[in-house]
Symmetry: C2
Subunit: 193 residues, 2 copies
């Protein structure tokens, strides 16, 4: 890597770290490009050379922090219950990692009251992850493990949304045992068979 | 009602309205007892005579706006599917009523980043409503319509949390048809029977 690119890469990492730290500390409205630049030790023109706005910087900082622009597919061992449980257990661990949790809460809180910010981040960060569940549920439908008439985009909410609500609203604690239970309830139903 | 009580009741209503409007406009951190008093046209001592803090005023304003301190039980026609669908349809309507939605979003957003505020409002406002689902699901268990081994506190999340997430995070639109589908999926399960 040429020296110029190494310097750019170092600045980029410093800017991502500064953006995530700042939004976690002061919230989205009070996070500014100037503030990110000062914290990263770069000029604000360096930021504007690469990004158009603080929303853009934060978006890419989150993509870098989590799965990158193209997150990997969900596991497919042929057992939909086992695969969903494994993914949700990993999600429980991610949601309680402060490096992710603090900035993610700040951004989500802003999205609750600012529909435009909410839609940008949901579309770019959350929906690609949800699409992986849609894809995995479709494969399970083809394998006869999910009813053929089920809409996978709604079905995934039966286990993803309860965990999201416990995390966001502190309605109750969550654990691997809890997400396993969600998967069992969702697959087999609450009514007797 | 004596004139003194009528005046008090009128002040109380003005204070509730001012508190809900203000939190919707400026958010929880910038809502102050002084601001509520000014908007309601009362002295701040009037507020402190009845409540200890802005959190207390807002809590009672929300209780007054929604169901009151003891919300009524869920309907029980003997058909758990029909009863859950009716309640969730009414919730869809409430969530899209601006008188509820705007202050509720402001308070929920604060709860996401401020665990103490989140817990106060969830415990006092949200949990009593969720308990009604627990009670109704228990009756359904006694009637043989829900598996006896199911934990009702987790079971309710299969239909309540998806609606909450669509509302809070704008992940997708919601409608009466959508909440009906959630109830059907939750009761009968995603896997073939």
């Amino acid at each position: 890597m040429p020296a110029q690119n190494r310097r750019s890469e170092k600045s980029r990492r410093a800017i991502y770290a500064a953006a995530l730290a700042l939004v976690g500390e002061v919230g989205y409205p009070r996070t500014t490009v100037e503030g990110i630049a000062a914290r990263a030790g770069v000029g604000k023109q360096t930021i504007y050379r690469w990004w158009n706005s603080k929303a853009d910087v934060l978006l890419e900082a989150f993509l870098d922090l989590t799965d990158g622009p193209e997150p990997p597919a969900l596991p497919d061992t042929g057992d939909i219950a086992a695969d969903l449980k494994a993914v949700l257990r990993a999600t429980v661990d991610e949601l309680t990692d402060p490096a992710f949790e603090i900035p993610a809460r700040a951004l989500t809180a802003e999205g609750v009251v600012n529909e435009e910010v909410g839609r940008i981040f949901v579309t770019r960060l959350l929906q690609p992850s949800l699409q992986l569940y849609v894809d995995r549920l479709r494969t399970a439908q083809e394998a006869g493990q999910i009813r053929p008439e089920t809409d996978p985009r709604i079905a995934l909410e039966l286990f993803v949304s309860p965990l999201a609500q416990r995390w966001l609203q502190h309605t109750a604690p969550f654990s691997h045992e809890y997400t396993d239970t969600l998967v069992d309830y969702a697959l087999h139903g609450l009514a007797p068979r």
